[in-house]
Amino acid sequence: MSDNAPDKQISDATQVSRRGFISWMSIGWLTFAATMGGFATMVGRFLFPNVLFEPSQSFKAGVPEEYQPNSVSTAFKAKQRVWIVRTDDRIFALLAKCTHLGCTPNWLANENKFKCPCHGSGFRITGINYEGPAPRPLERVQISLADDGRIQLDKAVTFRHEKGDWEHPDSYLMV
């Protein structure tokens, strides 16, 4: 800017103090730039809708007492792709998605394991992998009690065993 010298051919009448010239112009361009930035922001904001029409990531799954100790409930597998497991003193929810290539495993109650039909990965009731190609345990999803005392699940938040997430208080419910 400092190099901006007034055109020599402009008549004397248009010569003004350098300060006034700079400040008018800089305010103008600054506001202009700010406004352009605002427009860019506006376009960015526009791309993130305020309401969604996709199925909700969170849902309710009855009261804790509904689940028997050491059993796996497959009631939500078809619709939400989640098993609800109760061990002795904990309830947690496993995402029914094999950590190998994303197939949906089956719960084999007789053999007490989850078995993936695609490549034979096997998981214990806790979700730990113990056979087949699966590289890591099944993921757990966030579980909590809602205000009305029912179990609230949120698939948007997952917990991984190998990261030590399974001790996170949101990854299980004590019963």
Partner: protein, 260 residues
């Protein structure tokens, strides 16, 4: 280094120069180069007759029309993210633009911008007429301008259907019924019965001018899709081509008209 920093001028930096080639010009040559080297500015000549920079003379209407067209393009593209041209979704999508979509005001800008563009085009034409600027050698560019005027109104008209409300469907019904009255080619137009071979009539509700416009015999879902494609792709494309010719001819015909 330190010295460099002190006299650091962003307008002389490598990046600035790579984009604009010249620094912010202060002397005549620089000012000329600025226009010549800029893809947007080189629509203009380097120098123009003095009267043609006078707002009082040109009213800026042509330039504003082009600008509003750009605004409409940008807002139109953004609106396409939230609008589905189907009979199930069109109407509710428009409701949601007003209720929940972030910055759904985009629809208002687009709609009022469309109205504004019609007005600026008319006023631009009016100005050109009043200054006699249509006269040779600019007579062909005037004709191009008339085509652009028609395109502007067609763009506005096709967009009118998209909200899929009563205003839309009936405006388009009334409009497309005129196509049905086209002589020879419209189902209700004079002479339609003449377009036949033996007993076989070639102009039927499924094959006349109105059908060609709507893609079906009455305004329904197919017409919505067709108008959507006209509005968003076909007409803008044609308009851009004619605009290019129009601008090019302005320069080739000697810039903004002036007294001999």
């Amino acid at each position: 280094m330190a010295k460099d920093k002190k006299n650091y001028n962003p307008f002389k930096s490598l990046i600035w120069k790579s984009i604009f080639r010249t620094a912010v010009p202060t002397e005549k040559r620089g000012r000329m180069m600025q226009v010549l080297n800029n893809v947007f500015l080189h629509l203009h000549p380097v120098a123009v007759p003095k009267h043609s920079v006078k707002v009082k003379y040109t009213w800026c209407m042509g330039g504003l029309t082009f600008f509003v067209f750009l605004v409409l393009t940008v807002t139109g593209v953004l609106l396409m993210f939230y609008y589905r041209p189907t009979v199930e979704n069109a109407y509710t999508d428009i409701i949601d633009l007003g209720e929940t979509t972030p910055l759904g005001i985009m629809r208002e800008i687009h709609r009022w911008g469309a109205h504004l563009m019609v007005i600026t085009v008319w006023l631009h034409m009016f100005r050109v007429f009043m200054t006699g600027a249509y006269k040779p050698p600019r007579e062909f560019n005037w004709a191009i301008g008339v085509i652009l005027l028609v395109l502007t109104m067609l763009l506005s008209f096709t967009g009118y259907l998209l909200p899929w409300d009563q205003l839309a469907i009936w405006a388009i019904t009334v409009g497309s019924n005129m196509a049905a009255a086209t002589p020879l080619l419209g189902r209700e137009g004079p002479g339609a019965a003449l377009v036949s071979i033996g007993d076989i009539n070639l102009v039927t509700p499924q094959s006349d001018a109105k059908f060609g416009l709507l893609g079906e015999s009455e305004v329904r879902g197919m017409a919505l899709l067709r108008f959507y494609v006209f509005h968003c792709v076909a007409f803008p494309l044609v308009a851009v081509v004619f605009m290019a010719v129009h601008f090019w001819r302005v320069r080739k015909d000697g810039g903004v008209s002036g007294p001999m």
